[in-house]
Symmetry: D2
Subunit: 488 residues, 4 copies
């Protein structure tokens, strides 16, 4: 039973954004550029920075990698002298790849300006947009993020802070928002804390708010605290002020951040991502041991989990696969033949390492399964006598609605095939996945309220209603494989 939500095609498993904001430093746009550089893995199809120059906001943005947009030409020079800035790197879904969707969005008013950078996905966006349009709103982007600007602008509340709170209480889903006005920088996180969001402080005491601690390191900022679910943080010349827009919160951060998205050197709610992945590998080894000669991780994302697996089993952890460092741009078009070549341009097997060996191939996840199939084939061509695939996360069976570009199950291998079928399809001698409990234990984030994690991809237990997406998921609910918690 495959679903396709809202008619959107999807291309893979991609996080939709990284965001970075800073207030009160010299050359704030430069710092934002360096911070976004550390977040480039969270979005490669567009980048933008809005800086505050002489009290006014100026926007620079473009399609492509950060370095395409800001590493050449005058975009960064145009923001010289900024003393506050917000930035964004974006993964644009197909069909909405126009420059108008590249964030931060910037709205101009006769009397003010407001810039917005958003990481996440609003589950009631279609309802809100229709309602706003009925009330006369004109949208220039097809991005759900623009909705918040309209809600803020239309709020009857008196102060900007009150307007923002008002607007935040109308949106649902996953969101880490950064808002910049000429007067302040605002940061807000959804009530479940679906996305990571951290506060740092540079030497001079100025505050930085960004998606991952890795971005703090690059700009020389010290970690202060995670933004907590439901918080609205205001940073201005008077310093940092922490408030809540709602008290009904329950931390359930997206487990995919630990499994795949976040950088290994980032810490999320106090848990180092690399270390969590090593534990996933160790737990996986405990759950699914196999008689083999060497462990080979798929570079670079699965090296941590492979290392955990190898250590737990005592097997040597070998570089049986090598990744080409220069893969940013290829002109590959997506035919089957070319997709295989794309994998071969990216990864090579090392005959001297795997020939004659029984290999445990460790990967972090299986989405479509085609890449796994090509890698298994490459290892066999290089002489591996057996290939046992071990995956550091459970079977990916249900769509995401909180900020990952995977809103359909059509192409999810695990949603449509049994374990035996999958094993055959990728050509492995055996295939096993980490259990959901194993994942939760390995991350180790448990709170009094529960796991602290969203694991709905794997078990179908969504931590909140999904609003506009609910009708599309009804067949799964009817089949008894999916359920939704109430809002806290």
């Amino acid at each position: 039973m495959a679903i396709k939500v809202m008619g959107q095609d999807t291309k893979g498993l991609n996080e939709e954004c990284g965001i970075f904001g800073v207030w009160g430093v010299n050359e704030a746009a430069d710092m934002t550029y360096y911070g976004l550089h550390a977040l480039q893995h969270r979005g490669q199809e567009g980048a933008g920075i809005v800086g505050r120059q002489n009290g006014k906001l100026r926007q620079e943005r473009g399609l492509g990698l950060l370095a395409d947009v800001f590493g050449r030409g005058t975009a960064l020079q145009n923001l010289a002298g900024s003393d506050a800035a917000v930035g964004h790197v974006r993964y644009a879904t197909s069909g909405s790849n126009g420059i108008e969707n590249i964030q931060p969005l910037l709205a101009h008013f006769s009397d003010s300006q407001i810039a917005l950078a958003h990481n996440g996905n609003l589950t009631n966006q279609f309802t809100l947009r229709k309602q706003l349009e009925t009330d006369g709103a004109i949208f220039q982007s097809s991005s759900d993020s623009e909705i918040l600007l309209h809600l803020i602008r239309r709020s009857p509340a008196e102060t900007m802070g009150a307007k923002i709170k008002d607007a935040l209480n109308q949106v649902h889903g996953g969101f880490a928002f950064l808002l910049l006005t000429p007067d302040a920088l605002y940061a807000a996180l959804d009530p479940h804390g679906f996305r990571p969001f951290v506060i740092g402080q540079v030497d001079g005491g100025q505050y930085v708010v960004t998606s991952e601690t890795a971005a703090l390191n690059v700009v020389g900022a010290k970690f202060v605290r995670d933004v907590q679910p439901g918080e609205l943080v205001t940073i201005d010349d008077a310093g940092m002020h922490i408030d809540h827009f709602t008290e009904n919160t329950a931390l359930q951060i997206d487990s995919m951040e630990y499994i795949y998205f976040a950088r290994p050197d980032s810490d999320i709610y106090g848990v180092n991502v690399h270390t969590a992945r090593k534990r996933m590998g160790a737990t996986l080894a405990a759950e699914h041991a196999v008689d083999a000669d060497i462990v080979v991780g798929v570079p670079n994302s699965s090296l941590s989990v492979a290392s955990g697996y190898a250590e737990a089993t005592g097997l040597p952890n070998e570089m049986g696969l090598v990744k080409n460092q220069y893969i940013a741009r290829t002109f590959i078009e997506p035919t089957q033949d070319r997709r295989e070549r794309a994998v071969r341009m990216k990864l090579s097997s090392v005959r001297g390492v795997v020939a004659g060996k029984r290999v445990v191939l460790v990967d972090d996840s299986i989405v479509r399964g085609t890449t796994s199939m090509y890698i298994v084939r490459m290892l066999r061509e290089a002489g591996a006598s057996e290939v046992h695939v071990r995956i550091g996360s459970p079977r990916f069976r249900f769509p995401s609605f909180y900020g990952i570009d995977m809103q359909t199950t059509e192409e999810l291998m695990a949603a449509n095939h049994s374990l035996a079928e999958m094993t055959a399809m990728i050509g492995a001698d055996s295939l096993e996945f980490l259990s959901v409990d194993g994942l939760v234990d390995a991350i180790g984030l448990k709170t009094e309220q529960g796991t602290g994690l969203t694991t709905a991809y794997f078990d179908g237990h969504y931590p909140s209603p999904i609003y506009d997406y609910a009708p599309a998921m009804q067949p799964f609910v009817d089949a008894g494989v999916v359920d939704f918690m109430e809002e806290p």
Copy 2:
């Protein structure tokens, strides 16, 4: 007494737009490209086309000349298969040179789309914008044109046609609007008909609406009629339907269109522009004869008026100045020294023609006067014994508010200096201007209601209130040199 309106710097005398729309043809975007090509003189700093592909509107736009935006790359290919389109070439005033102001603007709704191309200037734009913002509107551009989209969207009227009429009755000033929805192409002209706007028909019977008849010729369309002041024209699969959004109209087209802006091969309200200019030259000769040997026009804009002057006087019309064909791009920065070089890169005097001659130098207008100064100097360097400057229009003394980028008198030579001063400043042996009556007669558009022309630049009689600009003009009103008619 110099004024500067709304804090805007201005750079010269520039028309702000050319527009082109077509419904129901094959490859409508290609035709629009060719049509805009004939209108490139109306705006060189940005260009855009919105095409209807499979019932949906798609926008392509960019900074620079039409050929920069559409002559390379994939922009025009992206619009392949369009069966309706609107296009725009823009002169962007300094300070608002972002891509977001390049038209046609395109607004997306959950249930529809609307594209807008505007030639003109709305005199109550600041009031309307503030009011709309107070009501929650978010503007993405700083262009006044976006206001109409908000007014249409917020209109309580039932049909699109009624919403547009409603909106048109709220805006004042000069406007030729083209609106494209998936269902129809709409064209509307302000009640004074400040800007030229014509309807043509191609061989298959499909309609084209555009700024000048010159654009009709290029796409092989036959002239049908001028859009009349106050009209709303609707073109869809059922054909053309002509309606009025107001009956209170009075034709007063901007006389600068005849003097300077429009192409000589265009006809406006039945008057050929080249022919009108020849009559200006002839009338100028009658008003201000001078004993001389040859007539030299400033290429290319003043060749018609020079030819009229020469014919009327019997003096030989000589090519004493040559214009470089390749002036599109220079890297000149605006220092005094470089400004003179810019003129010298553009124009050269021909010694063999002017040496030892008493020259009547004919130009169409004097704005700042610096170019005239350089040209007179060049003619003297080439050996002219006398240089008598004759200008085919009256002294330009007051600002424009209906769609020309000259909203201040600070830099207008004639607003700040006497005729004797001007003569000395440009270094001429004599300097004379066409009279306002001479201009009106030469164009010959007189209607029962009056001249059919706006000549406020020259005589201070504005044919309508100027709304948001009124406070800035109050000193002139107080001084008794400017007055405003009521709306018709």
Copy 3:
């Protein structure tokens, strides 16, 4: 009897170069940029400048218009501080459109450098190249100009000046050469002076050498003298030194320079080009009068000749055709249909001027005839009752070998059709051409040795042997319509 020489396709009638050199001024590359700007009409497909910075030569070049190569980016900044420079604008024939052919060429030696800019065509290039290759020379360009570098380098003479003279005596055909070394600027003109070449002097006394006087005006240089056939001019810190590489000279400048290529504001051997064209028009009127109402010239190249024709006949000279100012770039591909559109994008007829009139359409030349056909059609569509075509030069029947891109007669209308056929093909009521004698008289350059002009295109009398091209022309010689003079 049509010939096609050396297998080259040709596209039209295009001059192959403009060149500019200067020694001893501040910012010599900037001055060269301005000078080349005035020569852009002589070549639009590539541009380059070599500047001397701190005693070393640096090259910047690129494809496209001068402003594409130097008006953006850093190319001109890279040459900042140059105190001598040579520049080149090029018309690249198809098949050799690579960057390696863009001049000035620059050769590096362990102990020196030499840059070369060439306007013209070497008639013994194939023989020389083959011989040089046999002797081990490696060519990086397919340009004939590179041959001179090899000849200079291989000369056994002692000094650079002697080497250059030696090389110049080995090449035949049309050439104006500029050579720049770290020590001097050299200028040389072929023994017939086929191409124009002038020396000017700026205020500080420094010398400029360039293709046309128009380029002198733009950089503020005074005309000093024409380079004479057979001269080698050396300019260095000691001033200018004029020498001859041969005494066997006979001025026979290409008449096409007066007819079409040169700018009207340029003087060539003391004759102003515009004035010469006016005389061509007057002579044409005397030779081929016709009963008509108005004269219409094809803008911009034929306006001078039309003015001469009109003055001589007393007919009014009217602007019946208007040229679009923005034609630099179109994305037109060369199908018949699109070629007509290209003409329509470039030129428009003015109905108000030509309707009901008997028109004398004056053009400077007819090459293929297709443009003439489209223009006649446009005038008739605009209501002209009769169209009489008068051409300011004789019938173009034979190819050029001295520096114009027309080395075949295949596409030359006059080479393949009678006057009656041509009249019918272009759809004119009548068609007449200026006689060769009329042309010679109108230019008025006669010397003791003869006309001072090359008119071989029209009469088949080539002023020199054509060496490598001779075999291809043999059928014409056999037919008795073409002959070649011996070298002087």
Copy 4:
């Protein structure tokens, strides 16, 4: 005692090229693109491909990464239909960064064409170039590679093969050459085999010759054999023919290929690079054990050696440093402050891994030492209690002349400082290097003639005379630390 050779500044340790050639396949340029993609690590500042289309060679090349040159635009389309091709990726040294130096070079002759791609450095290039120039040769590039073209062209031998052999016997130094003519593909390797060079075969039997086996894998070619020192391989429609241009050979491949340059998945003379590096790590552990908690390799180049070190010691191999995947382009300028930031943008330490740990930091080599200093500092900031640096190669003390961009010892830390000084400068608790014997053993290439390796960087024993570079090295020879073997 630091030397600087031939006035060239150097920037780091960079291999100068990767080359790829193929004969007789469909879309040979596409295959070359894929092959070069696998060699991008060997040169990132320029790329080019020459393809044979319809029997003629066409060149496309540009500055930047392969994907910049061929992944966009039309460069690869321009080579469509090629049935043979050679390609090149280049590391351009500063001062010679012009497009004219980007290879393959292509020379045109009246009767033929020849393209050349070169990996290496010719030690008698200055002498040869001067001699050729004296004989009239003109060089268009400043690259030493062009010399071979001139030598071939000037050879009195009869056949192309004989000419090439003749030329190859005149050049000295390191070279793997690919030459393409319309008739054949030639591959030649210098008598010491300084650079890796391998032959592969695709399914249809056609031959590929390239720098590394990694490139064979990507294009689906099977490894056939290494090109042997002194060989000239000819590939044409008749198949492959192997010949020698000299019998005086002695394999001494550059050890840096195993240490740093080559990809881990490549095999060189039968030795897998990753496996060799693991052995270097194991040997290093045996030579320089230390009491520690974890091993951390510098990603990505040192992961193999770190893994060998960890395995040998039984210490856990941890991901204490993470490399940003998106480092291709930064706009960093080389100030000290920015250099540190550049390292921080590229590498991050993982606090959760290193905090409180005694770390063995394993790197492959130390050139300047600044990167090591920053990394040690980062590890300490992340809480490492001790940092012991272990380097998988000996101290880098002497320059290279066979194809690596390090021809000076000025910036080589080990050339100018004692081990104790180096330890202090990088801030490590201890610092040790692999011995030369340990390196030779770990690679394990020993032949009857010797080590099969060039280790001159480390021990000063150069395997050949260095010709034009000899004078600069004389002080080292005098000091008794450097010596040169005779040619074999």
